[in-house]
Amino acid sequence: MNNTIELAIQGNKAAQTAIVNDYSERIYNLGLHFLKNEQDAEDLLQETFIKVFDNLDKFQGKSGLYTWIYRIATNIALMKLRKGKREILVDDFMENYDFPEVHRHAHSGEIPSPLIAILNDELKRELSAALERIPEKYKTVFILRDVENLSTREAAEVLSITENNVKVRLKRARTYLREELCNYFENCKSA
């Protein structure tokens, strides 16, 4: 365990400030990505660090500090998401979806890179809506791995699932989102 963590556990304000400064941006963005608004992201940030400092003496250094903090933040974000959120009933669909047409668009051309540059508000709304349609367990893995750039091992630690589970969920999320995206572009073409 490094010195900053040990000092923070002892109540050293400078060390605690250093931890806040190091991780605030990541946690705030995690909140924005999960919860979609700035007030909820701020609440998440505050609740996360209150919990971090209340429990820092229990941090054993088995994982990295930032994985541990992410775990706390992700759990709080998921609790907030579950509160009052309508149940999305596509979970069974995702579980049983074997992606039989994964090559359906193989000859329609890749998503053209210039589109990335002209990502407009309508497309952003479409992407956001598509992400909202996937069940939480897939969305969580997608955000942690592909948006927050955690490794498979880190995402597994944060979510307390196996690395293989992370891979399976990520594969399903990506394939579903890719199909949604392809559908969107096809609609655009036919418009």
Binding site: S24, I50, A106, G109, E110, I116, L131, D146, R178
Partner: protein, 78 residues
């Protein structure tokens, strides 16, 4: 002699690409994918999808006011 993946192998493996791109297995797959035009298209679609989502969910700086409120709550110096 270099082992060639069957098309079925590559189908499955392409879906995993973008996973841990530095994995040795993935590196091998990427080399093989270059010999498979369809797989290359799929790989690029997966990469494009991830890239689009990253752009749609951008990283933002934490506003100073948010940091200040956090530090007040945590009783930390500004």
């Amino acid at each position: 002699m270099v082992r060639k993946f069957s098309h079925n192998d590559v189908d499955k493996l392409c879906q995993y690409l973008g996973d841990d791109l530095s994995d040795e297995k993935c590196e091998e797959i990427k080399r093989e994918v270059n010999n498979c035009p369809d797989c290359n298209v799929i790989l690029n679609e997966v990469k494009g999808t991830i890239e689009l989502y990253r752009k749609a969910l951008p990283q933002k700086s934490v506003p100073d006011s948010v940091i200040n409120r956090l530090k007040i709550i945590l009783q930390l110096p500004e």
